[in-house]
Assembly symmetry: C2
Homo-oligomer: 488 residues x 2
């Protein structure tokens, strides 16, 4: 089974695609750039979604739903936004098909042309702020803390499953506030929430920072980001939280009467994470035998395989173990399929990344034991059936911690400080990872470095320490290092 | 507050719209026919979704996600399907916008025309069966029991919030089976699941039945339905479950190797319920003062209002009551807003349909009591604080039962048997509701009756008893009664 996956060292990109397809996560569809998320992949996404959703709700946010379509003219309202989002998108121009006059299928009915074209949302700031205009009158209506789970479409020329697809699933938060400070606080609250989710659930270490002007969301005053490092030493932008200032309020004329009876423009934030996180999860932990799912996000945490197949004695032990695990809130599946051999099942669950596998055979039962195999290290051990639930509960926590420590070590070893452009290029080409270097603060230099090396400024870390230095490209003075990397 | 809602007796349609808007459920958007689902409405939809989702999962189904877009040619593959769904739909023809040559916004880039137009899914049988072709090879791959939660678009000329909108949210199950009987069993399993959900959670009584050929889903062999009755005595189709035979397997060439090594076409079902259920929920229970939410679907089951405003003594009692309610799994909100008066809050929660309201004032506390008001009957009573959680738990169950019994009585009083066309028309115009009558079994007669009366055959009830009779229109022989109604 593991033979089916290309080794990372041979072809990293093919390894990734193999895992996505063979672990049953996603597949290409008949529609260019659109993917099918398969049940196992969707199950992991549901775990992520449920956890994020409860974190949003705990911090006072509520869900709502806004239209899939955006009138074309809305995109032009905010000057920078249109530059960023009105380019590659799906445009609905007609609303009817008719039978082809000469038979042979259906054609677009030319009489059904829309007066104004509709864009399939690439992001929803415009339609939402157009709605908020009706919802906000006074300071009593603020803050509005709304999130939506939705599909969005950005027409991409080069797509990769989960990482870059024309249609993807995401959540987008859109909040409205009475003061600038409150909006900034919200932006950072969400940044920290995303970082906590990434590190405690996905066990994917991230660096929190702010984007440069050049990498900002189109229409934002400031874009905050969490940046992770993949196993090929490339960075992945995993989530962004934007302070939008009053840009969208002005574009859609959303004002409120403040406590002093004065009309003011509303302050805004928006923030999102998407199915791209699935790509991050895969590339942070998986190995040449398949997917590795962190226990806290595994739809099935434990699988029990009867050896060689189910029988009444094994069933009885399995039922008992399942009951004990369920009582601790551990999800478990007993594989009673008689058509497949244990070896085949082992390889399949390894491929699919199930954190813990229990093997139960007749002899194990006679010895009062079961075989416990953990997915992350592949270690196997025999454990007494008595107290097995406690053992597995601890083991799941240990796996969760082990995965994080391993990823953290990998990431930390790949943050390199350099002080000149030759070293910069060499580190990029050999070691990769994040490079901490001085930059003169201009978009011109940033763009030039990208042209020369394909490296971008991932972020200016949140709690960056100030130090005097010289820009690696221009030699101009700089007062802090920023993080560069080649990125997805 | 209740003054803002039009009375049902004055203008039923306006009453419905008033509730949807003023209870904070949904609103029209800037995009023709598309609605915005507001936080309170979405909260109720989330409760419905979570409950249905767990019922699907308990019966072995898993979730997945398929593309938003369907290549135009796919719709033509199944002959009847194209007639039903390829007419009014959103057609994507281009994938890029560009700055208008003369300034002033963006225009569609003519160079970005797609080779083949894409249709925004009106339903996903075609794209899913095109995918299943790759997933199904042998009987070992069956059954496939997959559901998806998604948005779909059907271009509607006349729209009504929740009941008929261009874009709506729904779930669509698509299952694949090795045998005809297994597919039929699945169709009925889901029909019963829908009926259970409607009656036990929405407390909306439904009649289970099968549709006539004329009312069948385009591409189905048999369409099963649950039909409810609204307060204006019109019927609402609340959910459908289709036995698709081998129609889609043949259209997309999906075959499997059976246990005898023979290639066979796969058997299929599909089934769905949508945000239309929100319309059913509203029109089954609500009154002239606003929405009434059945307790099992209320995102907030109990609200506590301090009288006249929060203070330390009231806060202490409220905290204690909340803790006791939470321990029983009852959701509760303590309204600490100091800007609004109690009377305003009472009216607002009544409008929004919160099942139980507790009022706590200083004097109540001195008497060791709180005031309990139930939304359904508007009854108020003083109850001892001691044991209040038990009282409310029982009260919520009582409300749930009371709503069902009331709706059941209303519905049962409006099922009328008639034996001739004059009576049929008179009952339709006076009493409305379901009319049980003989029909000669032809589409011709069914269509004629619809033309003459706007009544349609809602269904042939599942456990219909056979009896000889004569068609109310043609007098031709009939062996069973069917249910007619004017419907949404």
């Amino acid at each position: 089974m593991s033979k089916e996956i290309t080794n990372r060292s041979e072809d990293y990109s093919q390894w990734y695609t193999d895992i996505v397809k063979k672990a049953g996560l996603a597949d290409h569809s008949a529609v260019r750039g659109c993917m099918v998320i398969k049940p196992h992949g969707f199950g992991i996404w549901e775990m992520m979604k449920d956890q994020l959703d409860s974190m949003f709700k705990e911090t006072g946010h509520v869900n709502a739903y806004f239209p899939l379509f955006i009138p074309k003219s809305f995109l032009s309202r905010e000057a920078e936004h249109v530059e960023g989002f009105a380019k590659e998108c799906a445009v609905v121009t007609h609303h009817r098909l008719m039978n082809a006059p000469n038979g042979g299928g259906v054609v677009v009915d030319p009489d059904s042309k829309l007066e104004e074209e509709l864009i399939v949302r690439p992001t929803s700031e415009t339609i939402i702020w157009n709605t908020y205009k009706d919802w906000i009158n006074s300071y009593r209506d603020l803050p509005l803390l709304i999130n939506q789970w939705a599909n969005v479409v950005r027409w991409e020329m080069r797509t990769r499953l989960f990482l870059r697809t024309a249609e993807f699933l995401w959540q987008e938060g859109h909040t409205a506030h009475a003061t600038k400070q409150e909006a900034i606080d919200e932006t950072l609250l969400i940044l920290n929430l995303y970082a906590k989710f990434a590190e405690e659930y996905m066990v994917m270490p991230v660096i929190k920072g702010v984007k440069t002007a050049n990498e900002r969301f189109a229409g934002a005053v400031d874009t905050y980001t969490i940046e992770a490092l993949m196993q090929d030493s490339r960075a992945l932008q995993a989530g962004t939280s934007h302070f939008l200032g009053q840009n969208f309020a002005k574009a859609f004329n959303v004002m409120f009467l403040d406590e002093n009876q004065k009309q003011e423009y509303v302050w805004a934030t928006s923030w999102g994470v998407s199915t791209r996180l699935m790509g991050g999860l895969i590339m942070t932990h998986s190995d040449d035998d398949g997917l590795i799912i962190p226990p806290r996000l595994a739809p099935t945490q434990v699988v029990i395989v009867p050896i060689p197949k189910p029988d009444p004695a094994i069933d009885e032990v399995a039922e008992k173990v399942m009951k004990a695990l369920n009582e601790k809130g551990i999800s478990v599946k007993y594989d009673t399929d008689r058509k497949k051999r244990p070896g085949f099942k082992f390889a399949e669950y390894e491929m699919r990344g199930i954190p813990v596998r229990l093997g139960i055979g007749r002899r194990d039962i006679e010895n009062g034991q079961v075989e416990v195999a953990r997915r992350d290290t592949k270690e196997k051990s025999s454990q007494p059936i008595e107290g097995i639930a406690d053992h597995i509960q601890n083991l799941l926590e240990e796996i969760q911690n082990n995965l994080f420590q391993k990823a953290l070590k990998f990431r930390d070893e790949r943050i390199t400080s350099v002080d000149n452009f030759d070293d910069f290029k060499e580190v990029l080409d050999t070691k990769g990872g994040f490079i901490s270097a001085h930059w003169d603060g201009t978009t011109e230099t940033e763009v030039k470095i990208k042209e020369l090396t394909k490296a971008t400024i991932r972020c200016i870390p949140i709690d960056n320490k100030l130090e005097d230095g010289k820009c690696i490209l221009t030699g101009k003075p700089s007062n802090q290092r920023v993080l560069f990397a080649r990125a997805y």
